[in-house]
């Protein structure tokens, strides 16, 4: 199933990532992250990282409350990148560490389950 969401033209090459990664809230992002192997996560990180500065420059021209639909999708894709980068940057070999409290027992409240914009 596809969401039919598109990105601004400048970032068309990232469009194949949208369906899986343009997630709108923390709960969905962390569940996605922990469902992957570190190799799968690294592919996303490597695909996004080279575009990071230009994405920021593009989005910064907008008031976050008034993002056009394609820019909002780009925003969600980019925030997913920011929230899922730590296992790569901390050089983990797995996406979740063994002694952390089990994610499935964490109940996510409203602030963690909806988009801030």
């Amino acid at each position: 199933m596809t969401t039919g969401k598109t990105l601004p033209l400048e970032f068309a090459e990232l469009e194949p990532l949208v369906d899986q990664w343009a997630l709108t809230n923390e709960k969905d992002r962390v569940h996605k992250l922990l469902s992957l192997s570190i190799q799968e996560l690294r592919q996303f990180y490597d695909a996004m990282f080279p575009h990071a500065e230009s994405i920021v420059r593009y989005l910064e021209q907008y008031d976050p409350k008034k993002l056009p639909a394609d820019a909002k999708t780009l925003f969600h894709l980019f925030v997913t990148f920011i929230e899922t980068a730590y296992p790569i940057e901390l050089k983990w070999t797995i996406t979740d560490i063994d002694d952390s409290f089990e994610l499935n027992r964490l109940e996510f409240g409203e602030a963690s389950s909806k988009s801030p914009i």
């Binding site: 962390v30 910064e60 925003f75 920011i82 980068a85 002694d99 109940e107 409240g109 602030a111 963690s112």
Partner: protein, 401 residues
């Protein structure tokens, strides 16, 4: 020998004990005393003030320790009130869980309605009741008061201390610091562990070198403080606080640089503290440490506040029974105005959540082993003085008639 930070200790430690009998505290009989003498008498933070942000806001808060549910309201007069969430007609739960904006609450059972200041304002088919005095049938009040970002309640019909007396010197030491923040993450977890054990996990930094070695390997410590001593540790009346000193040589990661480069720096980074910054009230970074990363404040009995520049985290450790704790956590940050601020929020949220999951991850193993009864006493260092203070404050209240 390495130099290491020497903790500045402030406050009266004379009543504290470095060896505490934890085993007796796991027993249901002891727990009953904690509920009656501490939770039914003390001023308890129950919610963040941002849960009732404007006139006519309300929030329903469960208090499992006292087996009740409260309605918190902010009236037309801007006053914060708390009521037992029970309809005075037949005892139905008046308001379902959640929050919102309402002037009045109507019971789903027979339609009795109460104003948000507690008055009974409407009884369905009133003439069929013979002896009804509306004046006496308002919602059942619990003492409530706002302090900074918190709503406190007191279940004692006649509280032994005012909130100001209960908080002591810190009452005036955080003025305005938590305002203009927004909630950016919230979690709830139930763990199989005694509530004391759970809150103890957050009131020392001694564990950070071990428990958090994978998630935040270099945020504290460094060559000047390899043992990660607290920079400052203060014991107050019942509450206590410490300052965690950041490692000035910690390495920023590439995504962190992007996220915080377009918003404000937050955990596990920290902006260099400028002693000339007198906008920070005296209770925050009390020793004015230039490598201040965050403070930990224990608001006895059951709340921890992590306090950083531009953010704070409120953590509630509500006992459910002697062996189970309902943990509620909110992360709050400065209000986002730009997309860059949202990037900073996102980075901070993910990093702090992972550290927090590690802390929670220790609790059930400790709970299980303590329940084995193999040992009775825990040993507490000077870096764990907040835990010593927690038990001293608890014992004092339990010993009261």
């Amino acid at each position: 020998m390495n130099a290491t930070t020497k903790t500045q200790f402030v406050g009266d430690a004379s009543r504290l004990k470095s060896r505490v009998n934890i085993l007796k505290r796991l027993r249901p009989e002891f727990y009953e005393k904690e509920v009656e003498k501490i939770f039914r008498r003390g001023w308890l933070p129950v919610a963040s003030l941002t849960d009732v942000p404007e006139t006519n806001s309300y929030a329903v808060v469960d208090v499992p320790t006292l087996k009740t549910s409260l309605i918190l309201t902010r009236g037309e007069d801007d006053k914060i009130r708390a009521f037992h969430n029970i309809c005075r007609h037949r005892g139905n739960r008046l308001v379902p869980p959640g929050k919102g904006c309402k002037r009045a609450f109507s019971c789903g059972f027979h339609g009795w309605a109460f104003a948000n200041d507690g008055r009974l304002i409407s009884v369905t088919d009133r003439t069929q009741f013979d002896d009804l005095d509306e004046g006496e049938l308002g919602l059942l009040k619990v003492h409530a008061e706002a302090w900074e970002d918190f709503v406190f309640v007191n279940f004692d019909p006649a509280p032994r201390e005012s909130l100001r007396e209960w908080l002591g010197k810190m009452y005036d030491e955080y003025t305005g610091y938590f305002s203009d923040r927004e909630k950016i993450a919230s979690y709830r977890i139930q763990v199989e562990s005694n509530w004391n054990v759970t809150i103890n996990s957050f009131s020392e930094g001694y564990h950070s070198l071990y428990v958090h070695r994978k998630t935040v390997p270099d945020y504290q410590g460094g060559k000047d403080n390899p043992q990660r001593h607290r920079a400052y540790l203060e014991l107050m009346k019942r509450n206590a606080r410490y300052t965690a000193q950041g490692n000035p040589n910690r390495k920023e990661t590439p995504v962190e640089a992007i996220a915080y480069g377009h918003g404000r720096k937050m955990y596990p980074a920290f902006p260099r503290y400028m002693p000339s910054d007198n906008t920070v009230p005296p209770g925050v970074n009390a020793s004015r440490n230039e490598n201040w990363s965050f403070d930990v404040l224990e608001m006895f009995p059951h709340v921890i506040v992590l306090i950083g520049a531009h953010w704070h985290a409120n953590m509630w450790f509500w006992p459910v029974d002697a062996g189970r704790t309902d943990i509620r956590v909110d992360f709050l940050a400065y209000k986002a105005e730009t997309v860059g601020d949202h990037f900073a929020h996102a980075y901070f949220r993910a990093r702090l959540r992972e550290v927090f999951r590690e802390d929670i991850g220790t609790m059930e193993a400790i709970g299980a082993m303590l329940r084995s009864g193999a040992m009775s006493d825990i040993m507490l260092s000077r870096q764990e003085l907040l835990i010593q203070q927690h038990y001293a404050a608890a014992d004092e209240m339990i010993q009261q008639p």
